[in-house]
Assembly symmetry: C2
Homo-oligomer: 206 residues x 2
């Protein structure tokens, strides 16, 4: 939503200078965190990328960890929202699973840098651990759908349910490492392909 360039603020002091809002600061911070890793990204390079001074950032956020917390909350909120929609709560389990997977791909594409940051967490601080816990809850909800679909006989049961879920997420989450919006593949096509490969495999139809 927000751009890389400073956003024009409504009640801005200083004439020639355009003010940054929180959203613009967050976007640039998340990009930098993804480039170098959160811990290795200094407030100094963040300020450089914003074209301001280090201390200017502290006007918008209380510190480096606050930036991380805000960014992760955005990614997690979007993912959790998918689970609350009708398609995720009504109908056969395998349809609900497909709906959630498609929703996850949509969120991945829409908030790519934010989800990328989330998926690269290692859990070294309290903020990271709390985000990982929320992510695990999301994973568990999908794992429950996998279990249901297995019980219904629509998903193969010869492979361990945990392994199934993890391979599924492995495939979906890898999207953040290579997909770039605006390329030849539309988000809709991407979601179709992911679901098709996941359910029917790569071998030619028998």
């Amino acid at each position: 939503m927000a751009q890389t360039a400073p956003a024009r603020s409504t009640g801005n002091g200083r004439t020639g200078r355009e003010a940054y809002d929180l959203s613009a600061v967050l976007n640039i911070a998340v990009a930098a965190f993804n480039d170098h890793g959160y811990e290795a990204t200094s407030m100094g390079v963040l300020a450089q990328r914003l074209g301001t001074s280090k201390s200017a950032i502290y006007y918008h956020v209380s510190g480096k960890e606050d930036l991380l917390r805000l960014a992760l909350d955005r990614a997690l909120s979007e993912l959790e929202l998918v689970l609350t929609r009708d398609g995720a709560t009504q109908g056969p389990a395998d349809d609900r699973l497909r709906f959630v997977l498609r929703g996850a791909v949509d969120v991945l594409v829409k908030d790519l840098p934010y989800v990328t940051l989330l998926l690269r967490l290692r859990g070294n601080t309290e903020v990271e651990r709390q985000a990982l816990a929320r992510r695990r809850d999301f994973d568990r909800a999908v794992a429950a759908l996998v279990d249901e679909a297995r019980a219904d006989g629509t998903l193969r049961a010869d492979i361990d349910a945990r392994t199934t879920t993890r391979l599924l997420f492995g495939m979906i989450n890898s999207i953040v490492e290579w997909y770039r919006p605006g390329g030849p593949i539309t988000p809709e096509r991407l979601a179709d392909d992911v679901i098709s490969v996941a359910f029917d495999g790569l071998a030619t139809s028998r």
Copy 2:
């Protein structure tokens, strides 16, 4: 191969103290890099984990980047070796693809921390960029097998070849994020499951 604990060296000075060899230093460095990220891992915590001083590490390696280079070379050499074996060069394309994927899973499991480090690279230094280039060459070789199998009609051609390869690697590479050797799933079973899901999908057989 080497352990976390100091290895007894042959021509060691100092009585009560056991010497570290390069392999032991590398193992601990790779573990630390995976925990915190390469850039964010200080030589100080490395020394702490080794139970020595910072400067002792410089006896074994020329610097922090040297540790990274050695670790990445190990992971890449193992992966590249798979492509040279008979199973990867002889027979139908889809069999060769299966052989390489199985080999990649084996390497992932055998050298898990080293491959984990490789898969988390962002390309911020020259060492990282060179390693990423070697990894891309490996990926390209597998992509060529995918192309061949598609031409043979053994792999579905309705999905873009690049996307196919990337989803395939996404699934396989995710293994480093959750698989831990010694658990309930044997490496052989893991490789079977991965290949089965990749080729036949998760839906019950039609």
